[in-house]
């Protein structure tokens, strides 16, 4: 068996070097036409979270509901196609599922930033949210500086994680794969605070049965939520941008937002 081990190790190292020096192309880049593909198929596949209330989660009857789900339903109605909701497990899977064609569009409280824009394309914002902190009342967090030295739960690959590293480098970060796990950590007292989207923090501060959590009144920074689509998909991007504009112009977005949050949404500047 020893000889086999030696061969295997050498073989793997050689293989790794070959792969590293191999800048191959799998397929040439081509223009996408998701819009027509959806219409022809009669079905749209939308990626949303299923453990991120109130944007995408399971209700008491275990139906997949949420703000993003309502937006997706609206989109499917407008296109007159069937809606298939695809559950996205982690933050970076939004990008992975898009790139691999599992979903046609990602409507999942997706913060647009420049890094992600290198891999996929974002539409115009449909909601302006922000990054904020959900904290245990005794921790008394008011700003980024207060997080230094505290245990802060974040989800890997999220905007919150990136900002925490920049703004509070001395914070003791607990990095979970999903926001749901990070939330549980704060709720149980394993972390003093959690950094995530502003609407999420406010929603969960009120939701704690022990009433031990609080959220900041104002976000620490503002972030746009957009739909995510693949690159080279201009027609689909144009369609979705116009759809978002119509959502806001007709007041439908305000109606959906108020249903889940009880207040009016933050004003999004129109691009049309």
């Amino acid at each position: 068996m020893n000889k086999l081990h030696g061969f295997v190790r050498v073989g793997i190292l050689v293989g790794l070097f070959v792969l590293m020096l191999w800048p191959s192309t799998i397929q040439a880049a081509e223009m996408q036409d998701t819009l027509n593909a959806i219409i022809k198929r009669g079905e749209i596949q939308v990626g949303s979270f299923d453990i991120f209330p109130p944007w995408g989660f399971m209700d008491a009857q275990n139906n997949h509901v949420g703000l993003d789900v309502d937006v997706a339903k609206e989109l499917a109605d407008v296109l007159k196609v069937k809606l298939t909701l695809v559950s996205v497990p982690t933050n970076q899977d939004r990008i992975n599922f898009l790139l691999s064609g599992k979903i046609d569009v990602a409507i999942s409280n997706f913060t647009a930033n420049l890094e992600r824009s290198k891999a996929i394309t974002f539409t115009d914002p449909y909601v302006i949210d922000g990054i904020s902190a959900l904290y245990r009342k005794e921790a008394r967090i008011k700003s980024w500086a207060d997080l230094n030295g505290k245990r802060v739960a974040v989800s890997v690959g999220s905007t919150g994680e990136i900002l925490l590293r920049e703004q509070a480098p001395k914070a003791n970060a607990l990095r979970f794969e999903t926001a749901s796990a990070a939330l549980l950590a704060v709720q149980q007292g394993k972390a003093d605070a959690m950094i995530n989207d502003y609407t999420y923090t406010v929603y969960h501060a009120g939701r704690d049965p022990n009433k031990a959590l609080a959220a900041l009144d104002q976000p620490l920074s503002y972030q746009p939520y957009c739909f995510g689509v693949r690159k080279f998909d201009q027609e689909w991007l144009n369609y979705l941008n116009f759809f978002i504009y119509r959502l806001q112009q007709t007041g439908k977005m305000k109606e959906i937002y108020k249903k889940w949050f009880g207040v009016d949404p933050h004003r999004v500047s129109p691009t049309w």
Binding site: H5, G6, G157, K190
Partner: protein, 222 residues
């Protein structure tokens, strides 16, 4: 997939981060090995004991652990206990999960090792007037150790591989660094291929080293 070019370069740039995670994996695995071997020895002695009040709980423990998944055990220790206000920090929870899980398998391994020792050894020892613990310490367990060495090495490899699950409860090991690098470079396939290769290199190196150790130390006695 359209326009996807395999590029390993960005992942290799993050190698220091991955290696730091590998170090965490190694030390949590090593600690888990030592502690679960200790737990396993106690468990084996309990299972072989005359007293029913020692035998039954040990058997129950082994049965329950071996029929439930490690991931669920980890969630139960970290989040489950947290709900009833027993707070276990994440590294400790990961270690505890690995120790309890492998302790059950170690119990069976050590038990079969002890049972493999010829009964004559026990009788000879006790006729020489040795107490039970002296008998165990100087005669039985050293011989049992040699018998169980191969499955023990296998179990150590298993611990290293299954330790990747502690990344799900935020322990900064190789698994979590893999997810981090995948999300910052957007190169998921390449990252996981390289991380898998790192795991393979670790396990092969360690298992070869353990085999060489065996040859050196177990050659002397019959």
């Amino acid at each position: 997939m359209h326009g996807y070019v395999l590029q390993f370069g960005p992942v290799f740039q993050e190698m220091p981060l991955l290696l730091r995670g590998a170090l965490t994996t190694l030390h949590i695995s090593f600690l888990a090995l030592i502690l679960s071997l200790m737990l396993g020895t106690i468990g084996a002695l309990c299972r072989l004991s005359r007293f029913r009040w020692l035998r039954a709980p040990a058997a129950l423990y082994v049965d329950f652990i071996r029929n439930t998944p490690l991931l669920v055990q980890l969630f139960f220790i970290y989040f489950g206990f947290g709900q009833v206000n027993i707070q276990v920090p994440n590294y400790l929870a990961g270690l505890l999960g690995l120790v309890l899980n492998n302790g059950a398998y170690m119990t069976e391994i050590v038990r079969s090792g002890i049972q493999a020792i010829h009964k004559g050894q026990f009788e000879a020892g006790s006729s020489l007037g040795l107490s039970f613990s002296q008998l165990m310490r100087y005669i039985i367990l050293p011989q049992a150790f040699r018998v169980i060495y191969p499955p023990l090495c296998n179990q150590f490899i298993g611990i290293i591989l299954w330790s990747s699950l502690v990344s799900i409860i935020a322990v900064e090991d190789l698994g979590l660094e893999a997810i981090t690098v995948a999300s910052t470079t957007f190169r998921s396939f390449e990252t996981y291929m390289i991380v898998t290769a790192i795991y393979i290199v670790m396990t092969l190196t360690i298992s070869t080293a353990l085999k060489l150790l065996a040859r050196r130390f177990f050659r002397q006695t019959a």
